[in-house]
Amino acid sequence: MPDLPRLMRLVLLLLIFASYSTSPVWGAEREVKRVAMILFRGETPAEKGFRTTLSSSKDFDIKITVYDANQDKEKLKSIIDELDTSQFDLFYTFGTMASQMTIEKIKDKPVIFNVVARPVEAKLVNSWESSGNNATGASNLVSMESAFRTLSLVMNIRKLAFIYYEKDPAPKFQKAEIESVRKKFGFKVIDVPVRDLEAIPAALTKIISERVDAVMFPSDSFIKANANKIMTVLNKHRIPSVVIIPEMVKENGALISLGPDYQKLGELAGISAIDVLKGKKPTDIPTKRVQNLSISVNLKTADKLGINLPIQLLSLSTIIY
């Protein structure tokens, strides 16, 4: 009969072996899942957040293939048309346009959309609670009331220009949001639709001649792509720019962003993706939203525009300088 210490050692070894072999990370191979990422304007912090969440999964080894339309609507269409859906377990889409086109085409695989402000109105889902189809995701909808209250700490707005790409469906929903708080905050909205690149100079002339107090940029990929040209002119004429996409404060010199944190949005979409890969139906996962605004302000732009940033705002904001 073996002595007790030896027996204990054996039991301990067996326990270690057992725990090692049942561990999903180290013991067994993580199940490989393939995700297609369909993007209109390249990767943003939202995709970074999505990737980070997926890579932290203990159950799955997720391989991501990126399809970037490079801001070309036709290319986006051909990417979606040519996709071999059987190769992927899940599809991730960014923005209203890419999400609408993907969900229209792919019915047999789950689709996780991200940065879609109004998924119900865009007909991606039946309701915020349940999609009623193969899609779920995260929305970048923020409370416009909070956004305008924050803005009132920085400036007084009586005339607000709203510049947007008229072929993109998303900005129209954002404009409706702004219109809903217009009376409460006592400002007038000047509509500035842009049809194509050639229409930008005329749009800028309209903004300048209307003597607006600020220009609002929705989360619109076309406008984002041309933001440098637009903002250079606006800053020269000392017209503040208010944006929804946080990167535009750093990359394009916008004064202030009042949107959600895109990385957090990506993380929320990632959580939904993992739930779906684990077997949950997309229709059973409500569309997620971030609770608070993420405020970024550009100190250099504020100085150029002669705008005084109150110090209490610093405790809530990311400062770019």
């Binding site: 009132s152 005084n308 109150p310 610093l314």
Partner: protein
Amino acid sequence: MPEFISSLVTPLEIHMMLRGFIPTVIIIFIGIVIGRWDSSRHQLTLMKLTHYIFLPCLAFSALHKHAFDPAEIFRIALAVFITITVMTLVSVTVLKEKLQGGSRNILATVYMSSGTLFPPLAFVLFGNEGLAKAIYFHLFVILAYHTAGLWMVEGKADLKSFFKTPFIYLMLLGIGAKLFPFSLPEGIEEFAWLSEKGIDLTAMGGLPLLLISFGYPLGLLQRSDARGGLSGGLLRVIAGPLIALLVVYLYRKTGLISMERGYDALEYLDHRTTEAILVLGAAMPTSSLAMRLSGDRVNAGRAETGTLLVSAAVAIISVPTVLLLILMFIFSD
């Protein structure tokens, strides 16, 4: 920077605080230089301009954009009355003055520059929200001055002159415009906006003029004037903010001002801004407008001119210190 400070406040916050404070000091110095070299003695014109035009425009401009909140007004009023009452008791004890029938130095010690130095500083540091709260603060300070303050030195209150203050009526107009917004036809609305812009521009233009008004009488004082005002001046800029900090602490302890973060970060921020305004307002030096010119000298006693000079000189150090405390203990997480 010591670790204790750097753990509570970022260099950027200090930088932003100094960006607001240093230009304010520079403009006051311009006022001092003007006061010293202005042989035509334009102080009365300057006072009339600020009293009848710039301060009223500032009150309208700040309040018609600021949400009307009776609870906020109550908090500011109560804090001002507590701070002034405690400050009066401390000053009477330290300066060995009588509660009634004493010298005007007691007023110079208890009452701060809430109408000249404070509004511009509140605006450059805390924006329009800070300015609106500073306007309410000033209202209750002048109410206390015209009632309890004048009763102490003259034996009777003077509410008549309080109600003659034009800024009160523009303040009410600003609150009314915020409470009862009305729609106008397109062309008239454009005109109304332009008028509003005109008032806003006048108000903003008045900010440096208010600072110059504060600096002007300081330019008439001599270093020797400081002798009689050491105790009063130090009490004004050191005891004032300490009492206000105590009031803020009591507000938090009693739940009179919420510390709940909740989902609405802006509401939390608004409460902290109120606290900051209460402390900063109490840290202001003596109001220099009380020192009216008389010939080449200020028309005030030696003690109160000393209190003004000492409080203004010490404020160059004490006000940024108070601002640092505000950043560290009010706005810090």
